[in-house]
Subunit: 132 residues, 2 copies
DNA sequence: CTAATTGTCAAGCTAATACTTAAGTATTTT
DNA sequence: AAAATACTTAAGTATTAGCTTGACAATTAG
């Protein structure tokens, strides 16, 4: 999985229209995809199900969610592209499983936020100590 | 910050319309709000900026993002409700800062996913060992 | 072989959303 | 006091997206 942390490219050049801006021309990074994927409650529920109950079929995902197969397939597509889920079709059954590695980008991003913030916090502490 | 992990309540009763379902009547949990907030690249960029550069004003957030103040204010609202950001107005300037505690829900969620998955993985390992 | 099951794909529908503008308020500077 | 600055709020706009239906294909069961 290509690892391009950061939120680059979300701001295109000056826009000419008043409505919602269309998606950036810049390809989405790994982090973009993962956070986008988990930004939806249904998709989070899918990942949760796969982590706790293991590999299940598309139908088995759809049932408790009370949504159509087609809706599930759409979500799975997003999850697969993000690297959080892997699916495999054997016969007419597609089995879905969670990819734990997919969570690493999130952890890294959070970790980075923390350490950058901590660094600033510490610097402030030093400044205050200096003034005494 | 109320801590209600999990993705409950995203699936309402049988729907009567074909369009996108409207938001669940059930109140969004902390995790819902945090993931929803970070599901947007602009909001992630805001959090990144606050973590690395420290407290900045609304204007200072808007400038590099090349979006209007009003847009930033909308994003800040989402971020504040999620607990990731805190703002404070002194005079005419509103200063925004990152709340590191807001990241904990994410870490917990990811952590849970990992351990549940790992548990299943280990169980499978035991089964296979048993068969030999 | 037919019927049932599982999934796929395309198109449509409706709600959400990320931005804008415009008008206004409050504070600070000149 | 007037002008400039920083923000706020409401309403509008265009795009995205999460769901559905309908038609179809492939596999399995009877």
């Amino acid at each position: 999985m290509t690892d391009r942390s950061g939120s680059g490219g979300h701001r295109p050049a000056a826009r000419l229209s008043k409505g919602r801006p269309s998606e950036s021309a810049r390809p989405a990074s790994g982090v973009d995809r993962v956070f986008h994927a988990l930004g939806d409650p249904t998709r989070r529920a899918i990942v949760e199900k796969l982590s706790s109950e293991g590999p299940v079929s598309v139908s088995q995902l759809a049932a408790p969610l009370l949504i159509t197969l087609a809706a599930v397939v759409q979500h799975l597509q997003v999850l697969e592209v993000s690297g959080l889920v892997r699916t495999e079709k054997v016969g007419r059954v597609r089995t879905c499983r969670m990819e734990p590695a997919g969570l690493m980008l999130i952890e890294q991003w959070v970790s980075e936020r923390r350490s950058l913030w901590q660094r600033r916090f510490d610097r402030l502490g030093d400044l205050l100590a200096e003034e005494e």
